[in-house]
């Protein structure tokens, strides 16, 4: 790779703006919508469009220098830098995201015209775009993780945008849960990688294949990528995410969200790729996902669902290609990513147009729309060409590269080749269905009389279709400016493009292409039969969705069970647990660390507690305390017991006073008075029995716990007395209280000065507790 290419601080700021500007636009979106209504798409599209233009200008430098790095400190103490790293791979993704994003923003204007929350929708959409751009540009792994999670959160908001429908809410939660499992896994992976490599930057990552923790890192990264990119068995959230408005689906399936997993795998290929495990896992999961998605798509009749399933298939194909990891395979991956993004976004938008125009998305209810929707039909043909992979499209180039990559004679390649051919055939069949069924044949009446979509709705898909052709026709340009930089970034070394539109009939590849098309045509012809067969074989008893639901309900049920176990509402048991915990907490550490050994060696208890030096009035105070204790123990009247507790507390306060702690004594007095008052009030309020009757076993249990606590505290104090008291802190406070804190009352100075922050926390807790108590009291009033 080249050297670091820095163009001064202005570049830093502008690259950061690529990720930040969409968020700023998201903040302004509701305001914009208020002023210009459904035309706000035209205003807001300026943001992604300028990002796109800016990135286009960076293509040159990236090709020249290999990559551009820029870094802005964010939270230096946590090594969190907003460091950006723009190489061919991130640039390809970022261009796709911002380019398609521009068209989606334009499209959403007329699509959601008149919707009450269009401004909010734009906020979510732009924030989503920003998160995705940040994700592909981030160099710091923590920033990458942050953006990764942001895409999950913003997609949650987008999928559940129509939040009054239960299905939308469920789909949103499902997407969030599944992708967040991957998110947490990614966080762990990032932490482990950081520990192994010692830095947070992906660009400085060495090869980890030889590391002892490689299997762990690989498993974590793959879990993250597979959940995000909807690989079997985590694929089920993606079709459900169809609950989102169509512009979101178009964006989510083509350039963002699900592609984040693909990006992660491609990005980490130099660090993790190339091992037998990597190849085996990626090709197996990718291959299964490809076929799964292809067949599932054939089963559907809702066009949006068909497309969603083909996205799963395409994601599987991308993962499979990354798994193979050869130069040709990576080249195929890059071309296929671009081709797929173009045709998939186009198709989704077109389905939205058809849905708007006719009021249905069911492919069996549509036909003969070509005359009514000519522009839509043209765009569908363009997108379909790319999806089938007919010559002169990027899809064709991608398919040729794939077959070239798999044109080997070992059995694995042959299996993979057959898988890919079957997968491509299935995708071709779906593409044929999407182009032919709604538009050709006999016109069928629809819920709404069909009408051509407005310019804003049709322009995007048309442009994307044309780009799919243009990119392929400018083969050399595409190869050198998109393919080579991106593929080199994935492979970690320079590579060359050998894309060509001219089929090489000397090899096997063109014949495989023809075979694919033929297979697609046959599958399309027989799609009715196959669909019926697939639906028959579908077992309705369980599917991934049901398993997910069962897991979620199980989680909620077990949480409820645990809550009931610990939060049973019996105060006496809570108190029992608190006091047992207290006794254990202060005696167990001493027992375990031989803390009582010194105490037992002394054994002169009379000397230890200084009983001989106790003065007569001190004996009187002790007698008072003991009297309080005896009354407490033998009175079964609650009010008397509360008063006796007050006597005890007063005696304690007197002891504080006698031993020179007036502050403590003062506070203790007031606390005793107030607790007696409050307890008396509580007793009257709760209308308790005058007497406290408890079974003997309860008395014995509580008595034992009380004794344990008392003994533990006494022993603790005795241990403290036998040891030498560390007066470092008190000396410090005594020495510095007046000179630096200007106060002679050390207790108060500690409270308000030395430990001011603690006190602030404590008084907040006091207030919070007060609010809680008031809440409890008021609740009793409402619910008698």
């Amino acid at each position: 790779m080249g050297t670091v290419y820095r163009v001064g601080p202005t570049l830093d700021a502008s690259i950061a703006l690529v990720a930040i500007a969409p968020f700023l636009a998201a903040l302004l979106a509701p305001l914009t919508h208020r002023f210009v209504g459904s035309y706000c798409g035209w205003v807001l599209a300026i943001v992604p469009a300028s990002i796109f233009m800016f990135l286009v200008k960076l293509i040159g430098p990236v090709i020249d220098k290999g990559f551009i790095a820029a870094s802005i400190q964010w939270v230096p103490s946590y090594h969190l830098a907003l460091s950006f790293y723009l190489d061919g791979l991130s640039l390809t993704f970022a261009l796709t995201i911002s380019g398609i994003g521009t068209l989606i923003v334009l499209y959403a204007g007329p699509y959601l015209a008149g919707h009450g929350h269009q401004g909010r929708f734009y906020s979510f959409l732009l924030a989503f775009m920003g998160a995705m751009l940040g994700l592909v540009l981030a160099d710091n792994m923590l920033a990458l993780f942050g953006f990764w999670e942001l895409t999950a959160v913003t997609s949650f908001l987008l999928i559940g945008f129509d939040h009054t429908r239960q299905a939308a809410r469920r789909a949103a939660i499902q997407a969030l849960v599944v992708t967040n499992i991957g998110g947490l896994s990614l966080l762990l992976a990032v932490l482990v990688i950081q520990q192994l490599g010692g830095n947070w930057e992906i660009s400085k990552l060495g090869a980890l294949q030889g590391s002892a923790l490689y299997p762990l890192v690989l498993a974590l990264v793959l879990l993250a990528a597979f959940t995000k990119s909807a690989q079997v068995p985590f694929h089920f959230w993606l079709p459900n995410a169809m609950e989102a408005p169509t512009p979101v689906s178009a964006f989510l399936h083509s350039a963002t969200m699900v592609q984040a997993g693909v990006y992660l795998l491609a990005r980490l290929t130099p660090a993790l790729g190339g091992t037998p495990e990597w190849t085996a896992i990626l090709t197996i999961f990718g291959g299964v996902t490809l076929l799964w998605g292809g067949f599932a798509a054939l089963k559907q009749t809702d066009m949006k669902q068909m497309l969603a399933q083909t996205t799963i298939a395409s994601l599987g194909l991308l993962v499979l290609l990354i798994g193979i990891g050869s130069e040709t395979a990576i080249a195929a991956m890059v071309v296929y990513f671009v081709a797929h993004a173009l045709y998939k976004a186009g198709f989704f938008m077109l389905v939205g147009v058809i849905d708007h125009a006719t009021g249905t998305r069911d492919i069996t209810a549509l036909g003969g729309l070509m005359g009514k929707l000519p522009l839509t039909f043209a765009a569908a043909v363009l997108a379909g060409l790319g999806m089938i992979g007919l010559p002169l499209t990027l899809g064709y180039l991608a398919k040729e590269e794939m077959y070239l990559a798999l044109e080997q004679s070992d059995w694995r390649s042959i299996v993979l080749l057959l898988t890919v051919i079957l997968g491509n055939g299935l995708l071709g069949a779906i593409a044929l269905a999407l182009v032919i069924k709604p538009f050709l044949g006999q016109f069928r009446s629809t819920p709404k009389p069909p009408h051509e979509g407005s310019f804003g709705l049709v322009a995007g898909p048309l442009l994307l279709g044309v780009l799919g052709l243009a990119g392929a026709l400018a083969t050399g340009w595409f190869g050198s400016t998109v393919l080579v930089p991106a593929a080199s970034a994935v492979l970690g070394h320079a590579t060359t493009s050998h894309l060509t539109l001219v089929p090489d009939f000397g090899g096997l590849v063109p014949f495989l292409s023809v075979l694919t098309w033929a297979l697609g045509a046959v599958l399309f012809m027989q799609s009715g039969v196959i669909r019926a067969a697939l639906r028959r074989s579908e077992r309705s008893s369980w599917n991934f969705d049901a398993v997910f639901d069962a897991l979620m309900f199980g989680l909620i049920r077990s949480a409820a069970a645990i809550t009931r176990l610990f939060h049973h509402g019996r105060l006496e048991l809570y108190l029992l647990i608190v006091f047992i915990g207290f006794a254990v907490a202060i005696s167990a550490p001493l027992l375990l660390n031989h803390g009582y050994d010194g105490l037992l060696a002394t054994a002169d208890w009379v000397q230890l507690f200084g009983i001989r030096t106790v003065r007569p009035f001190e004996w009187a105070v002790l007698a008072l305390a003991i009297a309080g204790l005896l009354i407490l123990l033998f009175s079964f009247n609650r009010l008397v017991a509360v008063l006796a507790l007050g006597i005890q507390g007063t005696a304690t306060a007197l002891i504080f006073l006698l031993f020179g702690a007036p502050d403590l004594a003062f506070t203790q007095f007031m606390v005793e008075i107030l607790s007696v008052v409050v307890l008396a009030l509580v007793i009257t309020r709760l209308k308790l029995d005058e007497r406290d009757r408890r079974p003997y076993e309860d008395l014995a249990r509580d008595g034992i716990v009380a004794l344990l606590c008392g003994v533990a505290v006494t022993l603790l104090l005795a241990v403290v007395l036998t040891g030498t008291l560390d007066t470092k802190l008190s000396d410090f406070f005594t020495a510095t209280s007046v000179p630096i804190a200007h106060g002679r009352n050390i207790v108060n100075v500690i409270l308000v000065d030395y430990r001011g922050l603690d006190t602030l926390g404590e008084i907040s807790v006091v207030m919070g507790a007060g609010i809680a108590i008031l809440g409890l009291l008021r609740r009793r009033r409402i619910v008698p």
């Binding site: 007036p662 502050d663 003062f666 506070t667 007031m670 606390v671 008075i673 107030l674 008052v677 409050v678 009030l681 509580v682 009257t684 309020r685 630096i740 804190a741 200007h742 106060g743 002679r744 009352n745 207790v747 108060n748 100075v749 409270l751 308000v752 000065d753 030395y754 430990r755 001011g756 922050l757 006190t759 602030l760 008084i763 907040s764 006091v766 207030m767 507790a769 007060g770 609010i771 108590i773 008031l774 009291l777 008021r778 009793r780 009033r781």
Partner: protein, 139 residues
């Protein structure tokens, strides 16, 4: 409890207690006392007031909800800490202390403000609890 003697003497006791609580709060930095104990005394005064004259009278006399006093206290305490930001020191007290006393000859220091905040929190919280309980007991 609601005897003539108690009702007659209570306002006097309460006035003395509240005055004393303020005194205790303000002297706290150098002599025994402080915001916490001051707040406790004032809250006890309010509890007695409530027993003698009824909760409604206390609420009228206080003008604001007692919990409002508590919130005000937290606010004052937090703001007194924030003052140190203007001198460029962190919120943490030990450093903020130097600045506050190195330049100031004003007798009302930020720790005193802080202590007044503590006073209000303790006073407000306990008063609101006591009043709520007395209120309920009267039903």
């Amino acid at each position: 409890m609601n005897t003539v003697i108690f009702r007659t003497i209570a306002p006097l006791i309460i006035a003395i207690m509240v005055m004393f609580s303020i005194y205790v709060c303000l002297r706290g930095h150098n002599e025994p006392g402080g915001g916490f104990i001051g707040g406790l005394i004032a809250a006890a005064a309010m509890a007695i007031f409530g027993m003698a004259s009824g909760v409604a009278a206390v609420r009228t006399a206080l003008k604001f909800d007692p919990l409002g006093f508590a919130g005000f206290g937290v606010l004052i305490a937090a703001l007194s800490g924030l003052l140190s930001l203007y001198t460029g020191s962190p919120f943490l007290t030990s450093i903020w202390l130097y600045v506050s006393f190195g330049k100031n000859v004003v007798p009302f220091s930020t720790p005193a403000l802080f202590d007044i905040g503590v006073y209000f929190v303790v006073f407000g919280t306990l008063t609101s609890i006591a009043l709520a309980l007395e209120d309920e007991g009267a039903e």
